[in-house]
Symmetry: D3
Subunit: 191 residues, 6 copies
């Protein structure tokens, strides 16, 4: 799979060293994933931000939560679908395929989550996330009640908002600097 011709559209600059802790983290990525996700390489332009960003990312996507990792990845993709963010759709679409073992589910999250055969819990979560992304000012207590009716706890609702919010952040960084995903994602977990 050919590498894209740019990591971002920012022009190359002499940036400071990312430091030992981040070098170790990048190596861990290489060992575990076979690559350093391009988003981390992009943040290396501003090393003081890189560590804070990576820490928050890991807290949101990997730490203990009432939301499963698949649910968090589904949120990531649906937010990115609303915002049409190529980077996050490619990277997190692959994660949905991998965690669910269902390639069609990954495509559905990317293209239009409404066609997927979801549990009522999943559908309520993703409808909330779509609305929070597209017309956040219209979220009302009735929307939170829909989540509670599906068994989401108060902490879960916080995590849904936090996760959906976070990808509204990364989507805009990716669009803002035209960040390209690692090409390895495309062919993974297709069958």
């Amino acid at each position: 799979m050919p590498q894209p011709d740019h990591l971002t559209r920012l022009k190359p600059v002499d940036s400071p060293e990312i430091g030992e802790e981040m070098e170790a983290y990048f190596q861990k990525c290489r060992d575990k994933l076979g690559m350093v996700p391009n988003v981390l390489q992009a943040y290396a332009l501003r090393p003081a931000k890189l560590a804070a960003f990576a820490k928050l990312y890991n807290e949101i996507m990997l730490a203990d939560s009432g939301l499963s990792k698949l649910e968090r990845e589904m949120i990531a993709v649906v937010v990115s679908s609303a915002n049409r963010c190529y980077y996050c759709l490619v990277a997190h679409g692959q994660a949905v395929r991998a965690l669910s073992g269902d390639p069609q589910l990954g495509e559905m999250m990317v293209m239009n989550y409404r066609v997927a055969k979801l549990t009522a819990r999943e559908r309520a979560m993703l409808d909330f996330v779509w609305k929070l992304t597209s017309s956040p000012q219209e979220i009302a207590e009735s929307d939170r009640e829909e989540l509670r009716a599906q068994g989401f706890t108060e902490e879960d609702i916080f995590d849904i908002c936090d996760t959906a919010g976070f990808f509204n952040y990364t989507n805009r960084v990716a669009h803002g600097i035209d960040m390209m995903p690692n090409p390895e994602y495309h062919a993974l977990n297709r069958t």
Copy 2:
């Protein structure tokens, strides 16, 4: 100024201790600002996220950058205006009033930044930020060129995207849980 009747619309739960480091940080807020910003109190529901969030926030808003602190606060308010986020408009609108010494400028950022008498640099930055918030998929190289033409460096462009992205995140957390700002902000820096 009366306290709002809720911090967020999440129901009270027994949440874990926020830990020593965060207790110290809250105390520092009390000492320096006379209050703990409600967003931090809200994140205390998920203490493991609180530290990461606070660290990233401080990196974005307070660390060294080619963008002045006022510019970063202007970005925060304009993003929040596009998203109609009450919490962030109140808290960061006050910051614009305080840092600029110009109460009308704060109001203009809240209500419609296009009426403000801005430098060409500020206007280009805020037009970019509005577009990145409202139709992120339409950002193009020509938009970045507008920023470069105003003297923004590659790192500055990164920081503009990162800051605008971050408030697209916090706006959605605030909307998602109906987070109320500390009432102290309202009367500050009005003249």
Copy 3:
């Protein structure tokens, strides 16, 4: 508070005298409010329209109605929030602060009326007004029924439509000529 550098973006022209009646009215404004609202000064460019506009304005905002003056000012601000009209948000936001004695209420009307703790009557009125402003073609009998269910009479419904309609008018005049509000409004009724 410094005066803005322009009243409107229209270039100065020799305009006819506004006439005795309007001179007296302007003097009355000075005596009562300490200023002539800039909107009236702007209409002085077309004196034949000034009197008709002022008369209709006073009929809508000050004459007897089933809607309180505060309710009419809340409508003015919510319409102006939907349209992001700086002039009307500043001038009528101050009126909401003054009439309600609640500075936070004024800010909420400006920034996002949905976060305010309103009576069911107020909320129904403002939801109607937001919809009539943003997607007027979708107003249906069911929307009017919501108003009737809150005790609004047929005349009240007429007045809600008339008031909301009127600020959709003034918002567009203000945007169209970039009309600046009197700076005195900013600091008033903040505590």
Copy 4:
């Protein structure tokens, strides 16, 4: 042509007399137009507003202005097309057909003004009006410069904004109470 089954969706109420001046005005309408326009009959519910409304309407549409009466009617229809207001499209669409002697022009203003063969002056005016109606907060000095480049004076620009603003008002009254136009308009000036 059958009468519609309702004038507005407001329920009949005992409303006060409209007074001698307005009775005379209604008679003048009957004499001159063969009917009392339904909008005036609707405002008769609130007689104190009727006179002020009629006066402002006549000032805007009939008084001396750098804009021709046809131009003002074209503005009325294009605003009403953006807002999809049945009442104003029927009543002012007929006025465009009558004043221009061109039935196709009336239909084009109603359906999509962009297909009409217009002078550059007319097109600039209507593009401004569409934008002022649909996204008023985006009007900028460059939009006014387009008008000036077509020979519009400062007073003309004021009148364009005032006229466009006014129909954003009446469109919302008509939508808000579901006001039906007099059926006589439909068949007039079709050939």
Copy 5:
């Protein structure tokens, strides 16, 4: 009624003969309607497409269906109203006037179908069609259930989607090449 100055904005080219079958069809149009609809003349630029287009058009609009011809024409106009397509509004607006014998109904379909006094069946059909045109990705099983509740069969639902879809096609061809309708439509069936 004067002819428009262009059939489409495509520049004249030497196009191939349309062939015997289509010549005969054009003659049949002249005999029956007194004109060849301009859309067919426009497709003559690409004769291989003309026959297929005409066949599908006739199948959709004229063949047996659970939808009456008037219902299909109402769908055509409402889709074209959402898309503001001058060609189809003129041509199919006339068809609604002709088939219904109600000139006001034709105008209502063009300007805002929501003001028309419709049967519950017609209203459900047109609400579905408006949504399918404006936000197709939001159509859900509940929308189809609304149609079934009005007595539409599965084949009828297919035909509603097919007809609405088809005019979303023709509207875009007409906009894309700026296709003008035959002027004869304007004056027909006005009383």
Copy 6:
């Protein structure tokens, strides 16, 4: 790859035979593609429409044209991306991967065509198509001039409009009846 649990959301009905010609066409599909595309199976509900639809489809996508087959498939996917149509994104996304030999290009067309490295000709074509789909009433002569400047002939412009229009049609049929694509597409041409 598992079959979806529904072809469409229409309930099974006894539908007439599709006839000999279409049976032969379905067999040809099976022989050539290894499947009958689900859209054809869905149209079999209305056999009289099936033949006309298939003929027009083939004329648009397979017949001689100044547009290459890949260009036509790119148009299909970009229209379907704007409309978020799962069926067409899956089926025609695969066609872009197959015809281009570039799996990333297929994904880019689906997710956000603006990130793709395109020729100026392709980019102009797809920008036109996106606009024709999303805001057809705003297409102007200047948009056609952009196409001509890239070497597109008048017939090519017709074909671009016709192809883009056609997928605005099929997208709405697919959304309207919730049509699922054949699962075989997903895994094809991924590397």
